[in-house]
Symmetry: D2
Subunit: 408 residues, 4 copies
């Protein structure tokens, strides 16, 4: 425990105070890789819809660590033995689980880099930090990689009831002001237990689990997949793709050194040397926003228009449908726009496009949530619910969208 350190307690509007549990954790938080998360928004462009949603991945990671401290406390009180080292491994694993996120993460994963997920990037960062901290992250990495012998530890970090979700649903609900997503994390954690090394929920927690699944579903359709956010995210994806196309063709676009690096070459998973990772570590929301601000004045009309739309919130219209939109309808709208603005069809496709979104409120697979009955038997939550029909909630819902500019 570091007694004299300024940062040993952090104010949090949701939980009150977050305590940094150890010097190692403190030093990881102080590391520039982690401080970078202060400049990566948790909800991307959602603030264009919910003006309060400017909270960061930095804050979320601290919040998830706080919940992990509570979970450890609860499980220990129920007789689950968790050593001090294991507890610290859990704190580090959850703290760093998102460290691989880039700016406007999902946009990035599909434009700037290819074939590598943020989870894989998180692991690369953890390995680097493990070296720097003399192997002290071994345990956390094992948990993260699901190689830890105690299954529940991995489940606390990544599962259907992990501390990640319990924090982000609550935090996103708090900052957007969408109270329906407010999850009673404390109550859910109070009902966790471990049975045969797996994370389970006490039987009487059935209604809380149901409430959690419904709240999660609510947040997806109402917030994360909100039409306006969706349009904004697709536009970020489009503008980065366009920038990369132009760059690869030799055009020299204004951009920070780190962003230029990724615009000017194709980076696959295999290319992620520690040098590439070091450049990636310099990227955050600022690079993308600064680029948009410069590109607003560029003479490529796609680049400048999309930048303007994102900066001044002149977004696309969005239609949602249960059926895919027809090719004809899409083409018709594209051609109209192309003609009106004297663009090529390819250019028009940056402004008129379709796609699909999907969400599955509860995943029915090996990782189901189990209730621990008083007689010691387990029951799948999907079977235990009297009538909420969690099995139905486990179906993936797919919706289709069509984005196009407002008529002017």
């Amino acid at each position: 425990m570091i007694r004299n350190n300024k940062l040993k307690i952090v104010n949090d509007p949701i939980y009150g105070f977050i305590t940094i549990p150890s010097e190692l954790v403190y030093n990881l938080i102080e590391h520039p890789y982690f401080q970078r998360l202060r400049r990566i928004s948790q909800m991307g462009m959602s603030y264009l819809v919910y003006p309060g949603a400017h909270h960061t991945r930095f804050h979320h990671a601290l919040g998830a660590m706080f919940l992990m401290q509570r979970a450890v406390q609860v499980l220990r009180s129920k007789g689950v033995e968790i050593s001090e080292i294991e507890a610290q491994d859990l704190y580090i694993a959850i703290l760093l689980h998102d460290i691989g996120h880039g700016p406007f993460s999902h946009a990035l994963e599909n434009s700037i880099v290819e074939g590598i997920s943020h989870e894989e990037l998180s692991l690369l960062f953890m390995n680097l930090l493990n070296e720097e901290f003399n192997g002290k992250l071994e345990g956390a990495i094992k948990i993260f990689k699901k190689e830890c012998p105690r299954k529940f530890m991995h489940q606390l970090v990544s599962g259907q009831l992990d501390m990640d979700r319990l924090d982000y649903l609550r935090r996103d609900s708090f900052y957007t002001g969408v109270t329906e997503g407010n999850v009673s994390s404390q109550r859910l954690i109070a009902m966790l237990d471990v049975h045969n090394d797996s994370l389970v929920v006490e039987e009487k927690g059935i209604y809380s689990v149901e409430k959690f699944i419904v709240a999660r579903r609510f947040m997806y359709w109402q917030v994360y997949l909100h039409k306006t956010s969706l349009a904004a995210e697709q536009l970020v994806l489009g503008v980065l793709k366009r920038a990369k196309d132009l760059s690869l063709k030799g055009e020299k676009l204004p951009a920070s050194a780190a962003l230029s690096y990724f615009l000017n070459k194709i980076v696959h998973k295999a290319d992620f040397s520690s040098e590439t990772l070091a450049v990636f570590a310099r990227l955050d929301d600022v690079d993308v926003l600064a680029a948009l601000k410069a590109w607003e004045y560029h003479n490529d009309v796609v680049l400048s228009q999309i930048s303007k739309m994102l900066l001044h919130r002149k977004l696309l219209k969005v239609k949602i449908s249960n059926q895919p939109f027809s090719e004809e309808k899409l083409k018709e709208k594209r051609v109209a726009f192309m003609v009106k603005h004297n663009l090529s069809l390819e250019e028009a496709s940056y402004f008129v496009f379709t796609g699909e979104i999907s969400n599955q409120a509860y995943r029915m697979d090996k990782e189901n949530i189990f209730l621990l009955k008083k007689n010691g038997k387990l029951k799948d939550v999907a079977k235990a619910s009297d009538q909420l029909n969690i099995e139905a909630l486990s179906k993936t819902v797919v919706k289709h969208y069509l984005c196009y500019p407002k008529l002017e």
Copy 2:
């Protein structure tokens, strides 16, 4: 508007401030019949489980009126014409909708009086007040009786999304600290509209309605039908029945004048003259609690034991099952208790008994909740939900319970 009155604004921990909208409403609140509700707990004996749950029907009625003011504001902003008089009728109807509740209401309806519901009693009170206020409650009474030509008005007072529910779910959630029941009343009200004189919800409100239905279901099983509250409520019912039996046999039990009146004669619906109503209006929680405190020392063992159990929170054990408990099991437990405490079988049946509880999260009947689509068509919320399966939620869930004393 009464400008100089002290009570024109009331502090409310949930909504901030509640404003009394007119002098007539103010005078109704000041009336002893309404002030009586200050002494009737909203949640009966639930405070034995949730120590914060001491809020009253008085407070709930004010809260529901506050929400009605919001609803009128929202509907008017959407072009629904509601005159000043109609608005006041709505405020009065919701304010007085529960005025017929007696102490520990449901217990009472099945022991002290017979064949009359609290809604019928509310109507009796409203008629009395209407006379006293020179017919100014006509409109409110019509709404309450469903005789108002504008259907949505009745639905705002009594329907699946009425202001009563929107307040009590939120208020009970607030005072018990069971956050899962917290309903975003404001958001739901903001999405209300009127179509063909019926109350509807804007299409985008689908997730909020779902959330509301699940929250309601949660509160039922977790709070209102909580095992311990259930046992306490049954004990109140039992002790009152016993007291009435003894009284009718000529035993003179200590009790307030008003309570004695109802213990000493059988009162059916038809017996509710204005005199009887005036006596009923003097009954509240204090009468019952004071009686329990006196009966604790009575020589009838059933009376004294149950009183003691309720006052000192030595409640019964409760088992819940999806199947009814067998007659044999019940009898076996009764006999064991009877023998041990030297009671008659009839006396033992006050301590060992079974029953059933049921809840239906969403009622599928003429009063379904309808969504108003952008194209102006209506869609039943049960059909609109992608996968929550509201139809399933409309099945009535029945559970059985067995109560019996703890082993000593």
Copy 3:
């Protein structure tokens, strides 16, 4: 730790969950003397002004115990050694600190019993419980009586920053909806430390302490000494005095056995035998309210009128002044009332009376709050404040009131 007990966790709307720390504490909570506190309102008649204020001394005592658990945790983390036994003593001392409260406490102390404070009664109860629990309350009693060798322990139970105040200010603020009284208990507790066995506050806590003192002052003048509550409390005092006078003169008033006991004899401190205490332990708000309901129909006009006023909220008007009201003015109003209602002057004095209220936001005496500076020195908070002028706040403010009936 009792693992299988239902009540080991209690829902609390303010702190989330309150955990019962040990079996002994659990058994004390289960004791009828403590359960009685469920029927004693924390704020007396204040619900006539703030309809949410129906919380009880039972709930407050649990809340204060919760804060004590936090304080122990914080102090231990700063190196203050507190044994398991000492911690339990602290929990018990704070849990039982208010167990001697009677119904509408302050009214009672000046009417029904004489010369004995609720603190003295609490001690009597603790001694009784200590016997029943085989001396296990010795430590708690020592702390309560200030005989514990470690001064800070007593200060945590009773001092300017004790857990009692930190809970009741927050709780009363929560239930009344008067947010200005909301004290950040968690932040204040996080800044506690122990120096030379005395409770101190870390230097950087200066603004929080100031905020606490101002919040406390706010609650006094805005809530606890609210004109309407004041009038109500004086009326309770008056009606009990009248009832006692009549009883001592031989009039037989309807009242519960326990209340009759105290109405029919003068009980001084010296009279508090364990028998008397046992009768006192049967008194709670229900006895007084039930009496009011019976007295409403009594033929003594003072008794019946005041009862009616309290039950139907037809309270007195109140004027507040910095100067005492003149004897002439008082007499004039009394005479007018006497004549109008055909009363004696003595009877009129129950309806027209004056008195004074006072509050001292910060007490300057041996028990000042001290800040612990980084250099290890102490500084009186009254001296440390740049300009809030805590010294001024330590002056006792006295105000005078005149109560009289509304003109009819």
Copy 4:
């Protein structure tokens, strides 16, 4: 009223929903000048201390407008006549009151531009928008410039109890999690009235006003002038000064076009042509943060070091004192640092420096807060307080600070 617009209601975590009151207001919000405020943090670098404090001036401006709507509603209900046009003028005046803020505002005012305050810049923007919107902002501008005949209107926008303060104190408290700064805006607004065209507070609001003044003082010393934020703000100021010095000497620093414009020439108030303003309007937090990210790798050690410190949160140590720090002490620390890092004394002065901070919780001048007594007379709040000693709070408190690097 625009009925079909998506943005007519905005979610706000604090007030629930904010309604856009008119089409003109809506169009102003949509304007790029206003959208720019989405990229200007309300609390500058404070998020380095309070990780939740990422809310923007955009959100604050909407919040202040919401409170203005409430204030108009309250005043009208008390008989103050406010026409629809006047109400809209008030909404626009408060909405745009901060539109002239640049990135990290206070730093900017003292480095990039000279002799012009953000209020003056706000006025320049308003004039520009007034032209664009055909003179419809005349009324708002008059209020802002204090030229409106009705004094209270200006006071609602800029005074000791204006909607600006009532929102930012509450909002900053909310997002930092420092609950002591939480101001009950709703209660304060409910007590506003107008007397002789001046804004006054009802007499019974005295404690709320006191509470507000203390909360404001608390936020200053605990949050706005927090040592770490202070050091960060001074470092931003330093790095911008350094950049400007280097630029004026001919060094070509990486920076956005807009930032370069201001780095490469001295801009006084008189220089603010509409062209200059247009460039200023392109500046926001992104420009400064992007510059820091580029300068981190610059070969000027001052530029690169400070950038690194700000980005990776390796801030200076800060000492606070009631007395100024001596020149000797300052020089001594500077020399030590200069020698150790092989810098010039001038360069060292960017890392070791002193300054002063001051705050005045209540301003005693013509703009005092007045209470309206029941007899219609006014009373200065500073005189009305029994003992809080608001006069003392009106003294300006000055503190001195010394910043210097941590020992390595």
